[in-house]
């Protein structure tokens, strides 16, 4: 509420013929949604017939109101524009109608149409607000599908591995050709397995690295893997005493 006072006295003075009762003065212009809203308020307040508005009366009321308001704060341009429009309509109504033009449109028609349309929308806004609204009047279920939120990882199959490898092979075909077959692959798998086994341990006993239950082929492959690890300087094989235990350890930088 705007209440401007000088020496304790309200600076606002009411035009005599303004019908707005003093309590309505509390209704400052801010509460209106624009000039149409203010016009509707005035029409209602004074029981004016919207279809046969007394332009002189309405214009006077409107101007008086915005004059009052202008003393309180700056007025949006729309209000001044409407004032000009009202004065224009009023003056057109005062002009004598040329008798040859019988069916000239009522100068108020456009304003009335706009007022009616705005009034409709104003009521519609209230009705809309009266409807039940999600998150205000009712709530929607929100149960998590958490496992769906996890990103899906690409699938890979064994053939993809082969295709990828062959693609590399094709690119470097000109380079030194070496056959890598099934056995070689097993050897490499066992090399990885032995390294994993040695991880975190200072050493392992040579015989522990052999899985005796898996047959002679695995036995041989494990042995070849150990030799390959020694050749690639990845492990040390140590036997401190003749015929003593053989220990395998990860080779550390000396």
């Amino acid at each position: 509420m705007i209440e401007a006072r000088i020496h304790g006295e309200a600076i606002l003075e009411l035009p005599r013929d303004l019908y707005i009762p003093p309590d309505a003065l509390e209704v400052v212009l801010d509460t209106f949604e624009g000039p149409l809203d203010l016009l509707l308020y005035l029409i209602r307040k004074h029981n004016l017939d919207i279809l046969d508005i007394s332009m002189a009366e309405l214009t006077r009321q409107y101007l008086a109101y915005i004059d009052t308001a202008r003393q309180r704060h700056e007025l949006a341009a729309e209000y001044l524009l409407m004032a000009a429009l009202l004065i224009e309509i009023k003056s057109r109504m005062l002009l004598p109608k040329p008798s040859e033009i019988e069916e000239e449109e009522d100068p108020r028609a456009e304003l009335v149409r706009r007022l009616l349309e705005y009034e409709k929308m104003k009521l519609a806004a209230t009705a809309l607000d009266g409807l039940e609204q999600a998150e205000r009047d009712f709530f929607l279920p929100c149960v998590s599908r958490e496992w769906l939120e996890l990103p899906e990882l690409p699938g890979v199959n064994a053939e993809d591995m082969k295709t990828a490898w062959l693609a590399i092979a094709a690119r470097v075909e000109m380079a030194s050709p070496h056959k890598v077959g099934r056995e070689a692959l097993s050897i490499r798998e066992h090399m990885a397995r032995i390294l994993k086994r040695l991880q975190g341990n200072a050493y392992a006993e040579f015989s522990e690295l052999f899985d005796t239950g898996s047959g002679i082929a695995v036995f041989v492959v494990t042995f070849l893997a150990l030799l390959e690890l020694v050749r690639e300087s990845l492990v040390n094989i140590v036997q401190t005493d003749p015929l003593g235990a053989i220990y395998v350890s990860v080779k550390h930088e000396s």
Partner: protein, 171 residues
């Protein structure tokens, strides 16, 4: 797994309404629209008398809390849900009842400028969207309401909006 329980789980975990055409997908063609609709009617009955109800809205089917629950659920979030300003509500009403409209149309009806924040707020909430451009200089955007707007107001079609009151009451 019982199909009714699958549909129930799908609806309770979906933030948007599910049209029957989506629900059908749950069963990869093993159930037709007619069976799904029967099942939805069954589910609706199953939930009668509980805190949620299954309702058909513009976007399809979805659960929502019954109005009686508001009072209790509000106690969990004591801050009042924000209310729209009159300017925002009038703008929304014009878009809803007069769609498709340009910002200029809205300003013409309301007699004042429309703040871009208002339009943005409704766009962010997916209540309005640009559906085209008017073929005039500047090609202004044409706004219309979305099906989420209808869903959130619990409506099936725009014609379920409250009817417009014809003329100014002469009081």
């Amino acid at each position: 797994m019982n199909p009714e329980l699958i549909v129930e789980a799908a609806l309770l975990t979906s933030s948007d309404a599910l049209p029957v055409s989506q629900i059908v997908k749950l069963f990869e063609g093993e159930m037709d629209r007619f069976e799904i609709e029967n099942l939805l009617a069954g589910l609706q009955k199953k939930w009668t008398g509980s805190g949620l109800e299954l309702a058909e809205v513009a976007g399809g089917w979805r659960f929502r809390t019954r109005p009686e629950m508001k009072k209790f659920l509000e106690r969990l979030n004591p801050q009042k849900p924000p209310r729209y300003s009159r300017a925002a509500l009038e703008t929304l009403a014009i878009i809803a009842y007069r769609q498709p409209v340009t910002r200029g149309d809205i300003e013409e009806i309301r007699g004042v400028a429309v703040s871009p924040q208002i339009l943005k707020a409704f766009e962010d909430r997916s209540w309005i969207e640009v559906v085209g451009h008017r073929n005039v200089p500047g090609r202004p955007s044409l706004y219309a309401t979305t099906s989420k707007f209808l869903d959130d107001l619990n409506l099936r079609t725009i014609s379920e909006l409250p009817p417009l009151e014809a003329s100014l009451p002469e009081s």
